[in-house]
């Protein structure tokens, strides 16, 4: 029941009308710049809407309880756990998943850094790690803190059972240092 309409102008933006009182709902939001209209059971999480209804399976389901971070996406640019949010709460919002990061064949700097530092083994946590790092780079940072400590603390919501942490740290550090110029 999905249809794709590129969102290009203010006029085409999805309205933020209040939801109808029901256990089944009509929901519209933009995913990676494309308008999506869905008819969903109210129980459907943002994660399940992305994976099962929109077939964007880059976003992973790990614990499904907000403990592992594999489901991390950006909502209006802010990183969140999509498993602990109902799709219905995101009427009119801009959702960015790992499928929406690259610019055509050109990888996002965080994706490129993960490749260059071999920052994964099995890859299951990787989309969540990359989305979390991308969200982190747009947040205000405490410049008094040691950068590696800062990254470890700010990436603590993303678990990696393969233990690729040293390489993830190196990748995020590279992305952070590359983004410093843009911050100033």
């Amino acid at each position: 029941m999905t249809k794709e309409t590129p969102v290009l102008t203010e006029e085409s933006a999805v309205s933020i009308a209040t939801q109808q009182d029901s256990s089944e709902l009509t929901i519209s939001f933009n995913v990676n710049g494309v308008r999506r209209d869905l008819r969903l059971d109210a129980r459907v999480t943002l994660l399940d809407a992305l994976r099962e209804h929109l077939h964007l399976t880059g976003t992973k389901k790990g614990c499904d309880h907000g403990q592992c971070g594999a489901c991390t996406v950006l909502v209006n640019g802010v990183r969140v756990n999509s498993c602990l949010s109902f799709a219905a709460m995101h009427q009119g919002r801009e959702i960015t998943t790992v499928e929406g990061l690259a610019n055509g064949a050109e990888l996002h700097p965080v994706q490129q850094a993960f490749l260059e530092h071999d920052a994964f083994q099995c890859g299951y946590c990787t989309p969540g790690q990359i989305m979390s790092a991308t969200g982190f780079l747009s947040e205000p940072i405490d410049s008094h803190t040691d950068l590696e400590d800062l990254i470890r603390e700010n990436m603590s919501g993303n678990l990696c059972r393969c233990g690729a942490y040293p390489n993830i740290l190196a990748a995020v550090l590279q992305a952070l240092e590359n983004s410093k110029g843009e911050r100033q």
């Binding site: 209040t18 109210a42 907000g66 756990n81 602990l84 109902f86 969200g135 947040e139 603590s156 919501g157």
Partner: protein
């Protein structure tokens, strides 16, 4: 997850009316507790009222000092707000020590106040639990109770309040603003949460239909001189085994005013007034800090697996006092 009706409301009045309309309804804010517990069937509301559109997310200085934090302000927004970072560091530190960045971006102040316990038996519906099913029993009493409370317990419940934010707000003499059937009222933070006693299912003073709208932190001479110390099993992203919120005002080399509250060790955010009394009027010293630590654990009732918290809390109290002193916030830098 059980089926429910999803309602979204845009004004406090409409939201409270919707909550009042059915016996088994719940407000939905950040969702980080409610949706988690709905997946576990611990929470089974028939009506979920999404209050995120309500205009309650502002953080603003109060005339005459102090700050008002809207109930829908996100934990991350509060922690990075200039006024909170500079004037209420204990609150910023407590918030940043809780959960993960993603969860802090979602979780609200009102939801954090209402956060449910992490007791394993409460979260698993295959066990009895006096909070979930009053009178069914408490498997934690003689079960695995390493994370459980040593203060404020009863023979019906020993579950801790898991919030870090609540501990800081208790120490800061905060007031919770509530809208209800009979208009607006304010409740001192320290009184808001209830010890389990005979009715562990009743966790706060809220009545049916009530909506938390904001938290007020009054102006004080001690809030800027404050810190939050959290001890846990991991360096990050873990609940407290013991935590200390501390605020101190100095005068002529003596502690003129002290505030202390504990997390991770009690069934509600635990204001340590007896420790405050030990500290008040005295010159900071290692001896004083040790006496404060001993006072901190007066009346502690440990169980089989959490007896270590009695020692851990004393060390946390001493460390919190030392850190504040070494930061030069007790007069001369030690």
């Amino acid at each position: 997850m059980k089926q429910f009706r999803y309602l979204q409301r845009t004004t406090p009045h409409e939201a409270m009316a919707a909550l009042d309309a059915t016996p088994n309804s719940a407000f939905l804010a950040g969702g980080t507790t409610l949706i988690d517990l709905m997946k576990l069937d611990v929470e089974q509301p028939s009506d979920v009222i999404d209050i995120n559109p309500l205009p309650l997310d502002r953080i603003e200085a109060l005339p005459g000092g102090g700050v008002r934090i809207g109930a829908l302000a996100r934990n991350s927004e509060v922690a990075r707000h200039e006024l909170i970072r500079t004037q209420y560091p204990v609150l910023a530190e407590a918030l940043l020590s809780g959960a993960s960045p993603q969860l802090r971006n979602m979780a609200t102040v009102g939801g954090n106040i209402m956060q449910r316990t992490r007791c394993y038996y409460f979260r698993d519906v295959s066990f009895a639990c006096n909070k979930r099913l009053p009178g069914s029993g408490c498997p934690a009493l003689d079960g695995f109770n390493r994370i459980h409370a040593i203060f404020g317990t009863s023979e019906n419940c020993i579950a801790t309040n898991p919030s870090d934010m609540n501990v800081a707000l208790t120490a800061l003499d905060s007031m919770i603003r509530v809208s209800g059937r009979n208009g607006e009222r304010t409740i001192p933070f320290e009184d808001f949460h209830l010890v389990p006693g005979e009715s562990p299912q009743r966790e706060t003073l809220l009545e049916k239909g009530d909506l938390i709208t904001a938290v007020d932190i009054p102006a004080s001479s001690f809030a800027a001189n404050s810190l939050y110390l959290k001890v846990r099993d991991r360096a990050s992203y873990e609940f407290a085994l013991a935590s200390v919120a501390l605020a101190i005002e100095m005068s002529d080399g003596r502690i003129a005013n002290a505030r202390m509250a504990f997390g991770g060790v009690a069934t509600k955010p635990w204001r340590a007034r007896n420790v405050e009394q030990v500290l008040t009027g005295s010159e900071p010293s290692e001896d004083l800090f040790e006496r404060a630590a001993r006072a901190a654990v007066e009346g502690a009732l440990p169980r089989r697996d959490n007896a270590f918290k009695v020692e851990l809390l004393q060390r946390a109290v001493v460390k919190a006092l030392r850190v504040l002193r070494q930061a030069g916030k007790m007069g001369v830098r030690a």
